[in-house]
């Protein structure tokens, strides 16, 4: 058998289209011909290595950019916003109602870092003002269980807002 014919059979084998009788002819020749056997081995190895080439990925924000271009808002952003909002609500509520922590932290900062005293003084002023305004409201609200209701309503509001926005989402197609 001519080497050109063998090469054709090798190519057919790599195509996955080698018939059983051709395969037998090829194997028979390869067992006797060192050059063809080497060529067959190298070709097989080359194509096998192509199959093993790794996958390359675009930048991490690829999905976000596609969805933004299509006008599709990402749901997780609203879920995250809801969690952050609810967490902040509870934290602020507890901090201003039961703790003197804001004032204590401010005191510690002003004594430990004299360089930021001026900033701290301004911050203290803001926090004290906020405390003076918020504490009475929150304390009176707490006695009426209004903050809990407020929290529930806030979560529900964010949930339904997220759902409503999802429904409004449209592909520009």
């Amino acid at each position: 058998m001519k080497h050109k014919e063998i090469e054709r059979l090798i190519q057919k084998g790599l195509d996955g289209e080698l018939k059983p009788n051709d395969k037998a002819r090829l194997d028979n020749h390869l067992a006797r011909c060192h050059d063809c056997a080497t060529f067959h081995q190298e070709m097989s190895q080359t194509t096998r290595l192509v199959r093993q080439l790794g996958e390359i990925h675009p930048r991490a924000d690829f999905n976000a950019r596609i969805l933004a271009r299509l006008g599709i808002r990402q749901r997780f952003a609203w879920t995250k916003a809801g969690i952050v909002f609810a967490g902040s609500w509870v934290a602020v509520l507890l901090l201003f109602t039961y703790s003197s922590l804001p004032t204590r932290i401010l005191g510690w900062l002003t004594t430990s870092f004299p360089s930021i005293v001026r900033v701290s003084e301004k911050a203290e002023l803001v926090i004290t003002s906020l405390s003076q305004v918020l504490t009475p409201i929150l304390k009176s609200s707490l006695s009426n269980a209004n903050p809990v209701i407020g929290l529930v309503f806030s979560i529900l509001f964010i949930y339904f807002l997220g759902k409503a926005l999802q429904k409004e989402v449209k592909c520009k197609a």
Partner: protein, 181 residues
């Protein structure tokens, strides 16, 4: 590979502007499309732009997609057409390129699998884009001749002839042997 039923469901949901379905489609195919495009154009930013346009075009054309056809083939067809547009825009010759006759690095003595794969990847860059594309679509992406024929819009017989030539060229580059065609 994703079962066709799952893909059909994802497409249906994506048509209803379901963010989760769109994200799933992106996560399933962006790596394959980007790898294919990157290996064709060999420039990360260009590849990202083409992949981006591929998915935008895909989602925009989704209402007209025939679900009896394989989604992957359709997606690769879009990617292929945009890649060809890129080549045309940058006046890159598809049959031959300047890199073709540059010498490849010698594979002899390189037995580490990873290194070998890197060499193959490098050798691919030295193939003309049309040969490179056939090698990637057939051997890497494991598309059938029929699918490749649809993607490239060329007859199966032509694909077979070109693929045989491409394989021999790649082998020649890897083995640092001149082509004997």
């Amino acid at each position: 590979m994703t079962p066709r039923g799952e893909t059909t469901q994802l497409i249906k949901k994506a048509l209803e502007h379901d963010e989760e379905a769109c994200t799933r489609i992106l996560n399933l195919y962006k790596g394959r499309i980007f790898s294919y495009v990157y290996r064709m154009v060999r420039n990360y930013h260009d590849a990202e732009d083409i992949t981006f346009d591929t998915f935008i075009k895909c989602f925009n054309a989704l209402p007209s997609f025939d679900t009896s056809r394989p989604f992957t083939t359709w997606l690769f067809t879009i990617a292929h057409n945009l890649t060809m547009d890129h080549f045309r825009k940058h006046k890159i010759e598809l049959e031959y390129c300047d890199e073709l006759h540059q010498s490849g690095d010698d594979l002899a003595g390189e037995y580490e699998k990873k290194r070998k794969i890197e060499r193959i990847d490098h050798a691919l860059t030295q193939l003309p884009p049309i040969d490179r594309e056939l090698i990637i679509l057939f051997h890497k992406e494991e598309h059938t001749y029929q699918e490749i024929s649809e993607i490239l819009s060329i007859p199966i017989t032509t694909i077979k002839t070109r693929l045989h030539r491409a394989r021999k060229r790649l082998h020649g580059i890897v083995q640092k042997k001149p082509e004997n065609e």
